[in-house]
Symmetry: C2
Subunit: 130 residues, 2 copies
DNA sequence: CTTATTTGATTACAGGTGTAATCTTTAACT
DNA sequence: AGTTAAAGATTACACCTGTAATCAAATAAG
């Protein structure tokens, strides 16, 4: 699947919210936030189809669009790519950056602790006997 | 400062390794990894200058280039932008993704714990009396 | 059935990007 | 001093992007 551009992503992102969806559904959702011309959104939908990021099925004259990639997958690959490029693949410097800049609050810390605890539980078998 | 493209970033990134640096220095460093034509690198340097991402000072006929933005700043802004776009600004889902995909090892977890411990130490004053 | 409207398809068009080749200036060699 | 070589500046060019307008087909309205 070819790379999705910034604006194409914004369209894809509202499609992920709920799908299948018609062009008008998508335009309506987008207009909550962006002020895009209807034609612009249609163009982006078209390009997403050409890039095999979404597909459609005809319902009469209207199309109902559906993502071809899961948001989770996309998000994972984008995250990993960024961590690779900027931090040589290591996650912790990214987290350290957020911590330093006071971009974390007590709740974020609590969630991180939970993630770590879960990881350790899942991986404790390997440490048995170390 | 205008947005730096993917290839421009690769050039900037080797300049960050050590600067000031001549075009030839940079070309040499890049050729360890990429197979770029000398002319291509020069073009990218030129574009980085036009975008005010780097500057140069003439040393005879050669230029010595220097970054105008710190890697840390760039990295922070890229990280935050991605977390904003993909995770509504919350860091923990990104970390959770890495944890789930087995992209973390024992050392990564240890580093994350340290980051959290430091954060808590820095922020313990606010919890005094809670 | 003819016309107006809606919807997707095609075309537009300036600016960015990847990837160089050519031009120009200046320094080095003969 | 004249010619060559090296370095940066300018130009090239196809494809991508953002942002629509126009075209064409199909449906709805009269």
């Amino acid at each position: 699947m070819k790379e999705v551009s910034q604006t194409e992503f914004e369209v894809l992102d509202v499609l992920w919210q709920q799908y299948p969806a018609s062009a008008n559904d998508i335009i309506e959702r987008l207009n909550q936030q962006k002020e895009w011309h209807e034609k612009t959104v249609k163009t982006l939908l078209n390009r997403l189809v050409k890039k095999h990021a979404i597909s459609f099925e005809k319902q009469q004259r209207r199309y109902l669009y559906t993502p071809l990639i899961a948001r989770d997958e996309y998000v994972e690959s984008q995250s990993q790519s960024l961590v690779e490029r900027l931090f040589k693949g290591k996650l912790s410097p990214l987290v350290a950056g957020f911590a330093k800049n006071k971009d974390l609050d007590k709740d974020d810390i609590a969630e991180l602790k939970n993630i770590i605890a879960s990881w350790e539980q899942e991986n404790e078998a390997e440490n048995k006997g170390n």
